[in-house]
Amino acid sequence: MKVSDLSVARGGVPVLSGVSFALEAGEALVLRGPNGAGKTTLLRCIAGLQAPLTGQIEGAEDRVAYAAHADGLKSMLTVRENLSFWAQVFGNVNIAQALDGYALRPLADRLAGTLSAGQKRRLGLARLLVTGRPIWVLDEPTVSLDADAVALFGSALLGHLTAGGSALMATHIDLGVDARVLDISTYRAAPDADLGASDAAFL
């Protein structure tokens, strides 16, 4: 996947401009930057949830599995039902690996609504495994995970990378995985930049 000269806006105001990077197969890239720098906006943009102001994203179409703060879980469905639903949506059937990878098998028949926050998060991350998509785009994946669960996530990530997948993450903790770091505060949009923001026509 390749991102070139990307500018993104939050609430109609440009926050990042000129973002360029490439993400090769088997590679992990960690986004760093203070709160409000635009990490979430950039990730949403790459996941296709919002349009960039300028620039191109190549090779992301239909290859991205996105996970953000909300896990997309239905509390009245069991863990197994939640996972199989997303597996089927992405055209897969096998959820065994995902259940095992995040130690969810003992919980498989519990309703998702009865899980703890960390367990829910594990289930949300397990969803990535059933999508079969090569590029993971993750926004703070380790929120509410304990050390053991972070290790589970680390090994799942490692497995994904060694299998030729790649990952783009906004995270603050060390996952024990070789990852390039991209400090996005260097791409902060100039205060007077227009970049085709929606309100630029009124200046």
Partner: protein
């Protein structure tokens, strides 16, 4: 030089400053001459008595109620296709004007209907259609107010206007099917010349219709200017906060 240059908000503001005095003056002249002539200078109708004077309000208001929606439809399409901000804001600006026009048409109609048909309100297709139009205006305005991001609001209201137009036509058809009514036919078939209104009533009526049209135009231009200023204020503020 193309007409589209005035799709630039700032250029539109400059232009609107220049044409507005003329528009307001013309609107005032036509509305007052039309209404005064109609009120003081026309005889009573043999059958309807002096109530015929209501026509100088009722028909122009009804005409503009429909035209305003039509203008909003065109403006919405221009926004969706060419994404000119002025167009979206003009549609937003026109809606309350259309709403008031619809209200005037409904109220004067009810006041007129009382002595003529013996009832304030009848579920006649035309009356019902205007009531439905009124609901569409309400929904459209409410949606504009509910959506926070202005461009998203413009998008959503434009599609609502489009879909609403289709459903408004469907409703009109359905309502006609549902009840053949007692409202008289259109009084002014402009194209054919055999009109059902005598000349004495016709000329002031035409003046009033032109006047209402001009008033609508003046109001929309002014209100569009207001919307542009509000957006410009917000845009400048956003940038100042970011610079700080």
């Amino acid at each position: 030089m193309s007409l589209w240059q005035y799709a630039n908000p700032v250029k539109f503001l400059a232009l609107s400053e220049r044409v507005q005095p003329v528009l307001w003056a013309l609107a005032a002249v036509f509305v007052s001459v039309g209404l005064l002539w109609g009120f003081f200078g026309t005889p009573d109708d043999a059958r309807q008595g002096s109530t015929v004077k209501i026509i100088y309000l009722h028909v122009p208001a009804a005409l503009m109620a429909i035209n305003a929606w039509f203008m909003m439809l065109v403006a919405s399409l221009i926004w969706l296709i060419r994404r000119h901000h002025v167009s979206a804001l003009a549609a937003k600006a026109a809606a309350p004007v259309g709403l008031v026009m619809t209200l005037i048409a409904l109220v004067t109609g009810a006041i007129w209907g009382q002595p003529m048909w013996g009832t304030w309100w009848a579920w006649d297709p035309r009356l019902t259609s205007f009531l439905i139009l009124f609901l569409f205006y309400l929904g459209y305005i409410a949606l504009w107010q509910a959506v926070e991001d202005p461009d998203t609001a413009a998008d959503l209201t434009s599609v609502l206007c489009l879909v609403g137009s289709v459903f408004a036509v469907l409703s009109r058809y359905a309502v006609q099917f549902w009840n053949q009514g007692l409202h008289q036919g259109t009084s002014i078939p402009v194209a054919t010349g055999n009109r059902s209104v005598a000349d004495v009533f016709f000329y002031p009526l035409v003046l009033a219709m032109i006047g209402f049209g001009l008033l609508f135009l003046a109001l929309v231009v002014y209100r569009t200017g207001t919307e542009i200023r509000l957006r410009r204020t917000a845009a400048l503020r956003a940038r100042m906060n970011r610079g700080a």
